[in-house]
Every structure is written in structure tokens, then in C-alpha cells.
Amino acid sequence: MSPVVKIQDLHKIYESGEVPVHAVRGVSLEIQRGEFIALMGASGSGKSTLMNMLGCLDRPTRGTYELDGINIDDLDRNELADLRNQKLGFVFQGFNLLARTTALENVELPMLYGRHRKFSMDKIRERAMHCLEIVGLANRFDHFPNQLSGGQQQRVAIARGLVNEPQVLLADEPTGNLDSKTSVEVMGVFQKLNDQGITIVMVTHELDIAKYCRRNLILRDGVVVRDELVADGTIAEEEMQRIKAAEAAAKLTLQAKSEA
């Protein structure tokens, strides 16, 4: 099968500042369907820049990018928007949900755009609800973002990323604003989705988060310096059980202490 993402010798040079910044310096990469990739690297190594290009939000200065067989170089602004709408799902570090808008309406958002789908409002609602179910938040559909925890907000964002059945789900530091327990929760959702065959590319600078993925790419100064499969990956469900057990134990000791 052809790779869903195929980039060749991709470069990005930011010319906006006083000195041009060569943020990505020749990355070539193929991503197959069903992969679960962590893009790692130190801060400033070009992870976000690469992700923005993968997400068709930004154009490369040089190099080619084919998404699902389509060369994005040939597309204009609106065609890129349609491509993002249909083939990509986005999860951002800061969740980026619309404030004062219910979880359900946030998830509906991608279905309100795009040229080719013209669903009825009922259908839109039903699909959004289904995606909330996938991330385990169906019962919170009418909650506003400020009524949800960080992990729940990120799960709503994931549901929004899924709702148009994308070819690739892109996540830039999805656990960056979360504590370790909710990070595990979110990684669990990703693992479940990946098990169902969804291709996921995420950025992280945390090694233990990268362990939840199947393939790790390490970026340094805009080039891929390592590309390896994860040997002994962490399984979120097991990790969650461990955390819960630890919590229970902590509670017990706390109780014992207070009784003593």
C-alpha cells in the first residue's frame, strides 16, 4: 500500500526575522497507514515547524509533500483548507476548544466546514456524539470547556479531530499542558484509536510519553537524527492500573497515618 504521508527533502526557512531561521533542513519521511509516531526532540529542534507542514497549515520552503497521494504544492489556500478538513485531524497543545461552546458543538465544528459533505444537523449531531463516545465523554456532551478537566478537554479536542474520519491525526504536544495521570488518560485514547487503525503523528519532548507510540523519530536542528521502532512500549491501560493502585496505597498509608 502507498504511504499516507510522503515527504522528500523538506526545508523550512523563516525569513520573517532579521536573520533567516532554517528550522527544518531536509527531512525525508514516509508514514504508512496505521502508524503511531512520536516526533521527539529538544525545544527549537523544528518539531512544530515540521508538524505545521505535515498539517498543511504551512508550506515548505523547499521539498515535496504528498498527502494521501496529493501533492500539496499544487493546491491553493482554499484547497488546502478543504484538504485539512477532510484528511487531517488536529489536536493542539492548548486544546484550542471554543470557549463558552459545549463539548458537542466543539466536536461538530469540522463538519460545519468542507465542500463535499452536506450533512443534516441531525446527522452532524449524531456523528459528533459518536466521537464523544469514542473518547468516553458522551455523558459530558453539554459541558462547557471550563467545566471540564484538562484531560477531558483534550479528549474533546481528539473527538473533534476524529469527526471527519481523517487519514492522519496530528497532535502537537497533546500532553504538554497535562499532569502525568491525565497524560496517560489521553495516551490511552490515542492507543485505542491506533488499535482501530487510525494513523497518528504526535510531537512530544517527553521520553515516557513517546514510549506509548510505536515509532519514534528524533529531530535535532531540523534534521531527523534517529528513526526507530519502540521495542518495549508502554500500554496506557496497564499504566493506568498501576497509577490507581499506587493512589490507593497512598490513601491507605495516609489513613493509617491519620489513625495513628
Binding site: 497549515l57 482554499n78 470557549a99 463558552r100 469540522p110 460545519l112 466546514y113 471527519n164
Partner: protein, 402 residues
């Protein structure tokens, strides 16, 4: 994206900021309500003036002493500013297509009856007067040509005078003393209300103009002549004939009279009302513009504040045009909903004014359409620039915006 979706998105965005949306719309509400109220008051006043002009009579032509033709009233020593009963007789005798005519002498006098006294308008008129003024008798009858010829001491009285002097009895047949002369009351006029100038038309005693000139006021000239033309399309011709006749009777002296038709009177009277309406509507229109600027301001703030939202929308597939339409529709919704509420408030307000102050108000339907369409237009104009700005944003920059 469908239009329905854009509408939904815009409505959701407005609902998210209900208070702000309401405050923004308030500008429009006040503007439109002001326009509607002002125009209603203005057209009410105009309608009232028109009704009053109509109440003067039908196809009416008035002749007044003094010339208004060359810069105000002329007159003074040497120039005899006068209109005489003979002028009236000549018109009655020589001008065709006249249905009725009445000379008129105006004065104010103290009248006595029943041990009561009352200061009122004592006007000398001819027997045609009630007919010319379209002013029927309520009881009794008008005096006749015979009474005019014989300088009869007879009168008819207006409703106000009747109520004041004879609160508990029928005035017809009673005697009224004017300048200590007894005048027999032949009839009572039906109520007419207020004139264009705000005076009570019913506060009047009518006596034969001859009696007035000889017995009461001792004047030699009359105050005016009222003529009723036979037909609406004869008015201009009658006016011309009257002017010709009077000019001829003055034998080359400068004209010392003015002939006016009812239409001329009406247009002069309504011109003021029109100017007032225009002025009021103009002031109200300014508040509409202020409302528009308010919307533009809020939309600009909104675009800046919602940069991230715009970034999210663009990232997940909104076209620039979708964002443009969304913000434009938000602005139009704000302004036209504001406009609709403003119409309701304006209509309600003018009704309230009318029932509270007794002002005559008239809500013109065309202005309702004009203000709703106008407020939508204000929305388009004031929303376009902010919407355009939003549509031009770059998704990455917008997402990164703090």
C-alpha cells in the same frame, strides 16, 4: 459550507457573548427607535395640520388685507390697507363658480348673559359662513341675509361659549349682551376643536358683519373674505378672477390684498411640520450612524479577541470566505435584530407618547421598512472591514496568538 451552517455558527457566536451582543444591539435599538419615534411625531403633527387645514372648509379661497407679495406686509401711512364689504359684494356679484362667500370682521369682546361674563371672539360674518367653513349648526339656525341687511341684533354662538354662559339651559332664544347691546341667540354651532394656531374655534360668537361694523367695532374695513369655489378644479380660476376684480376695483393703486387658496395655506402650514420631521429624523439618523460605529468597534474588538477561534476554524477547514460571512452575518444579525427591536420600541414609544401627552403620532409604514433595511445596511457596512480582517488571518499566526 451551507448558508444555514454559517448562520448557525454566527448565532452561536453571538449567543456566547449575550451581554455584549445585547449592548451592541442597544446602539441600533436606540437609533432606530429614535428615528421611528421622531418620524411618527413629525408625521402625526403634519397629519394634524392637514386635518386642521381641511377643517377650514372645502375648496376655500381667502382674501386678506395687505400685500404679502413683495417681502412681507406692506402698509403704513397713506396706503389704505383695507378690504371693504363692497369688495365682498362685488366678488359675490361678479365672480362665477362661487358656492358661498362670507365677509368676516374679527374682534375680541366681553359678553354678558345670565349674570355671567366671558371674554370671547366676537366675529362679524355673513349667513354663508357656516356653509363655507363646513361647520353645521348643532341647534337653532344661522341668521339670514335679512339680518345682515337690517343690522340685526342676532347671533349664533360656539360650543365653548354656550357651555360657559349657559351651563344648564338651552341658549337658543336667550339674550347675550355685547357692548351692552342685547343680541338674541338664534343657534349654537357644533363643536369644531382647535385651529392650526392652537386656538379654540368654539370660543366664538358670530353676529352679522354689518351689525359688527356699525354697532360693535365701528370699523370700516373687514378682516377677511372667505370664498368657497364650486368645485376643486375651479379654485384656481376663481382665485384669478377675484384677484383681477379686486385689482380693477383699486384702479392702479398698489394691490393691498392677498388671495390664497387652501392648498397654499396647507403647504405653508405643513412646510413647518415637514422641516421639523426632517430635522428630527436627521438627528435620529445620526444616532443610527453612532450605532453603526458601535457595531464596527465591537466587531473589530471581537475579531482581535477571537483570533484564536478564527485560527481554529481556519485550521480545521474554514475558507476565508466562511469566516468573512460569519462575521458579516454576526454584524448584520446584531444590527437588524437591533433594528427590529428598535422599530418595536419606537412604535411602542410613540404610542405611549401619544396616549400620555396627547400628541398626535402617526407611524409611517415606509419608515419601518426604511429603518429595518437601513439598520441591516449599517450592519453590512460596519461589519465588512472587521470581517475582511478576520478572513485574511493566517491560521498558524492566529493559533499562536495569545
Amino acid at each position: 459550507m451551507h448558508f444555514a451552517n454559517t448562520l448557525r455558527v454566527a448565532l452561536r457566536a453571538l449567543r456566547r457573548n449575550t451581554l455584549r451582543s445585547l449592548l451592541t444591539a442597544l446602539g441600533m435599538i436606540i437609533g432606530v427607535a429614535a428615528v421611528i419615534t421622531m418620524v411618527s411625531i413629525g408625521s402625526g403633527a403634519k397629519a394634524q395640520v392637514e386635518a386642521q387645514v381641511a377643517s377650514l372648509g372645502q375648496n376655500l379661497i381667502t382674501v386678506m388685507p395687505g400685500s404679502f407679495s413683495s417681502g412681507g406686509m406692506r402698509g403704513g401711512f397713506g396706503s389704505s390697507v383695507s378690504l371693504t364689504p363692497e369688495d365682498a359684494d362685488a366678488i359675490a356679484a361678479e365672480v362665477a363658480n362661487i358656492d358661498g362667500l362670507s365677509a368676516e370682521v374679527r374682534d375680541r369682546n366681553q359678553v354678558l348673559a345670565n349674570g355671567l361674563n366671558w371674554n370671547t371672539n366676537v366675529n362679524g360674518v355673513g349667513p354663508d359662513y357656516p356653509y363655507v367653513r363646513n361647520w353645521p349648526m348643532e341647534s337653532g339656525a344661522m341668521f339670514t341675509e335679512q339680518d345682515v341687511k337690517s343690522l340685526g341684533k342676532v347671533c349664533v354662538i360656539g360650543k365653548t361659549v354656550a357651555d360657559q354662559m349657559f351651563p344648564n339651559e338651552d341658549p337658543v332664544g336667550q339674550t347675550l349682551r355685547i357692548r351692552n347691546l342685547p343680541f338674541r341667540i338664534l343657534g349654537v354651532l357644533s363643536p369644531k376643536g382647535f385651529s392650526i394656531f392652537g386656538s379654540d374655534e368654539d370660543d366664538v360668537v358670530l353676529i352679522p358683519y354689518t351689525s359688527h361694523m356699525r354697532r360693535v367695532s365701528r370699523r370700516t374695513s373687514i378682516s377677511m373674505i372667505r370664498i368657497q369655489a364650486a368645485d376643486a378644479d375651479k379654485v384656481a380660476q376663481v382665485k384669478q378672477s377675484v384677484e383681477d376684480l379686486l385689482t380693477q376695483r383699486r384702479r392702479g393703486r398698489e394691490p393691498d390684498f392677498t388671495v390664497r387658496t387652501q392648498e397654499e395655506l396647507a403647504s405653508a402650514a405643513t412646510a413647518t411640520a415637514k422641516t421639523m420631521t426632517g430635522l428630527l429624523a436627521g438627528i435620529a439618523g445620526v444616532s443610527l450612524i453612532v450605532g453603526g460605529i458601535g457595531i464596527m468597534n465591537i466587531m473589530l474588538v471581537s475579531v482581535t479577541e477571537r483570533t484564536r477561534e478564527i485560527g481554529i476554524r481556519l485550521a480545521i477547514g474554514a475558507h476565508g470566505r466562511d469566516v468573512l460571512t460569519q462575521f458579516l452575518i454576526e454584524a448584520i444579525l446584531l444590527s437588524s435584530l437591533g433594528g427590529l427591536v428598535g422599530v418595536a420600541v419606537g412604535v411602542g414609544g410613540s404610542q405611549a407618547l401619544s396616549s400620555y401627552n396627547g400628541w398626535p403620532v402617526l407611524v409611517p409604514t415606509t419608515w419601518i421598512f426604511i429603518s429595518v433595511a437601513g439598520s441591516a445596511l449599517v450592519g453590512i457596512i460596519s461589519g465588512f472591514y472587521p470581517a475582511y480582517k478576520a478572513a485574511q488571518l493566517d491560521p498558524i499566526d492566529a493559533l499562536r496568538y495569545e
